[in-house]
Symmetry: D2
Subunit: 311 residues, 4 copies
């Protein structure tokens, strides 16, 4: 029986760890907040008291953390994974971080005789719960094959896309498309609301044609109701778009829509709405068209100042 240490039991990590238990893996979960491990324990896993405790007996160490510095700290910090694992342990990082950081960590792992895969996922909380994530993997083919049963326990699409860092590169492209697709749906909703149409019927028929997408399937209805409960937090998507725009800049590559939506996601974060779902891009458009009390009054005054031949 393969023993998996699972580090990071947030919205995504927790259901993934539970699915691994269900698929027959021996799972040792660790989170900085001990109560986060409860669902894993209830499912039949074990809660570790430290990173070192979690990984000591593991065959595989899985990570699902918010950002690159978190992954770096957990792997290379004192009493971290690199210090505590058995030689030959395979590390699989499900986090979404920059391709450059991912490559660098794989290099440092190799120096210690450890093998590593970057395996960011797409599909959101629903995909994590249902075990239907899309997993985009960078690293050695043989390591991907060795972990295929594990990947298939949490994902429906398991795809190696290249060497170390390639998974992260593909995730960046994925997040570019997702952010843009949400913004397009937001713009379409605003346009439909401004015109006189049956909104539910409209989104249904649009989704039936070439405009059809998973974003329309899964997010449009909540957006229409301005329900921005995450789901996937805007501040994480903001971080991902930072990876996208930095990669594009390194390649002197213009991304007209990618950069435009990155601006709008930055606005969401600047407004203190970073913990809302990324569908809250619609709220930025709502702001841009909402009447402003004070200034409107100010405007009325200004208008009185203005006298002309017409109106």
């Amino acid at each position: 029986m393969t023993t998996v240490a699972f580090l990071g039991l947030g919205i995504m990590g927790r259901p993934m760890a539970v699915n691994l238990v269900s698929a027959g893996f021996a799972v040792v979960g660790y989170s900085r907040r001990p109560e986060s491990a409860d669902p894993v324990v209830r499912a039949g896993g074990r809660a570790a008291t430290s990173i070192a405790d979690a990984v000591a007996q593991a065959d595989v160490v899985a990570l699902m953390l918010p950002d690159g510095p978190d992954v770096e700290a957990v792997l290379t910090g004192e009493q971290g994974v690199f210090d505590s694992v058995r030689p030959g342990t395979l590390i699989v990082d499900f986090s979404s971080i920059s391709p450059a950081t991912s490559r660098e960590l794989a290099r440092r792992a190799a120096e210690r005789g450890l093998r590593m895969l970057d395996a960011p996922v797409s599909g959101g909380e629903a995909g994590a719960i249902e075990g239907t994530l899309s997993i985009m993997i960078g690293g050695a083919e043989e390591d991907v094959e060795r972990l295929r049963p594990l990947f298939e326990a949490v994902g429906a699409t398991v795809q190696r896309v290249g060497d170390h860092g390639a998974g992260q590169s593909v995730k960046a492209a994925n997040q570019l498309i997702v952010a843009g697709a949400i913004q397009l749906v937001a713009e379409a909703i605003k346009l439909l609301e401004a015109l006189d149409v049956d909104l539910d019927a409209a989104l249904r028929v649009i989704n039936g044609g070439l405009a059809g997408s998973k974003v329309l399937d899964r997010k449009a209805a909540a957006m229409l109701k301005r329900d921005f409960t995450p789901g996937f937090r805007a501040e994480l998507h903001h971080k991902d778009l930072g990876i996208v725009t930095a990669a594009a800049r390194d390649a002197s590559l213009p991304l007209p829509l990618g950069n435009a939506v990155a601006q709008l996601m930055a606005a969401l974060v600047a407004q203190g709405r970073g913990s809302l779902d990324h569908g809250a891009l619609l709220a930025v458009l709502d702001d841009l068209t909402a009447a402003r009390g004070t200034e409107a009054a100010n405007g009325a005054e200004a208008r009185r100042r203005h006298e002309g031949i017409t109106k």
Copy 2:
């Protein structure tokens, strides 16, 4: 047996008319280019020699024309549809035109005792051939119901979305999303090409997650090969985006991504590439990153002029 006059037998109209014949309708086809009616005749329909000839005995008149002025000319011109149909004839306009023109034509039809529906479609040439179009319909509910068998002969999703013009409004929102989705895929392809990944695998796994879409299903593979055979011509999509941006402007509605992609589609048309598939948005990005011969040389010279302490 219902007799349908079908006016406009282009890439979309021809297969739609053929599908109506197959579904048991008596179809009389008319096109300015007589040979365009051949497939309809081979399927069992009849070719008319004029608009008047086509519509004289029709129960239903269907139109599938490039733009508003075409529809207006065919309906209201001398010897046009309004002059030639029997009272009570139902006119269904599958063309994509502006909501305002559509409403105005419905009003003028009503003045003559004619009933009208706007019924633009999505799904492209493939959807027209397979009879799986999405049809977004504006007009009276009873007229939609009366024509439901006709709609179901050409489409898989048949949806009334409001009164006269509402079909066009929804089509505008649809075209906004489609153009944006193509541009996002183009940007993702450029990003993936700049990084070191397996492109086919990457697009497959991206399509398996929240970024999944019909545009990825149907267009990404051809775009990757720079095969821009239409499909749906950029110049028609340019026209559609003109409807989108005009509607947004009338509503003082900012559409950051919609307007950005409208600019890029305009560039395609300005470059004389308007008859390529709209997937050629990728060609604009290719241009923006392709090395320029003469100027590069010019640049080298300029560089020689520049002397500094470092590189």
Copy 3:
């Protein structure tokens, strides 16, 4: 002594008419709001009771109206200018309207034996008061020369730029640059406010280099204080940007910055801030970065839901 009928006595027209009086012209002013003519009368002009009354004895008819439909109504409406002037009267339209409308009105004037110039201005209320406007003129060279004393009474830069409509085309390009320049200053202010610099000193030194501009000279200080008293109303600039984007669309010309700022100006109008000064583009950026009460709370709740290994 040349008699000038001046139609339209708003923020711009009023001081222009007064300057014409000061320069020795016999000025007959008309506005739909009679009190608007008071300053002209105080300066030594006459107030007319109707358009017909104003233009009946005029050698030159000058117009300064908000938009094309206003100009069209005043010229071609019943009891309008075309019906009431003496043959050979020269009409000079200072309004900013679309080049196409301008050409069409010149054509209709010519049919009646009237001569016309389009002569939109730049320089704002201050330029109108000081008589230092820039005037961009379309029409016959001899007519421009004939009116040169009149133009020099209201403007510092008087320039014929081509045939009928050319003045409007140049004004469109002018308004594109002005809107963009204001938005750039707004973005620079936000950036400087986010960093730790002495704002007044910063804007002063920026204005001393290649970034220097009239917009920095005249508008940056008020913008910094969020004083958006017009000046030039955003809703008029929104109208002008509609002319810009329509002209660009007709030419299939992408205007990446022009269209982006047109979106933001549309947002201002949608927010009911259309009667503020166009410098209020900064207020849109303020919105995009201002903390949102309710949603921030919503976000805090969402954050509580989220548990992870870090933070």
Copy 4:
């Protein structure tokens, strides 16, 4: 007599060093390319054989280098400035680098008892030759005062804008405005070329009004002729816009126009045109509207495939 070591004798540094000689400073110039020091020697300065040689007897060390890593290498590298100067030497960095790097280098200088100012400039090659640069300075007020005669020998506007790094922050805002202003002029030129106007007259009258700017004064004429000889190289402006977008991202600040023009500048660099003048932004627009040979043919073929009732 104050001895100034001047490190970096490129397009900007060379004339600045010459102006210091003319103003009575004892100047020791150093460049990796010895011949770059020739004009300084001819003016009465001395050429050094190494950084150490240049700075050993200097009261002030001035730097004018392309980017942050260059500055870091020259200051902190082996046999670099920090290793070779006398205690108490004042270092003034005219280079444009990131505010964060600037602050960090000032901190490391202070650890060694050295004082430092960041003093990036605006005004281009012409401003450097004429000694009319705008200088935006970060650091201690007393150090700025001590160096005022030096600053006034090379610049017309000398302004302290805050503490260490503030000069760079203001330069970033400056470069945002300059890039945007050039792009706006490029868009206006394209619009005017598409319409039928006298281009020289048009730009003259535009420059007379609120749209007036130094960019119109100095760059529009060359742009109109498509003369893209630098001047200021696009690749350096691309670097500067990287500083702008990174600073904006750190502050979660959306910069709609700043980011849009950064994309277009990136395109210039990707096209191998980085060593052209930044006015070559117009060449990108030219590309976006230039007819494409092969694809146009391809398009003609596609058009033949398409048959419809109209055209």
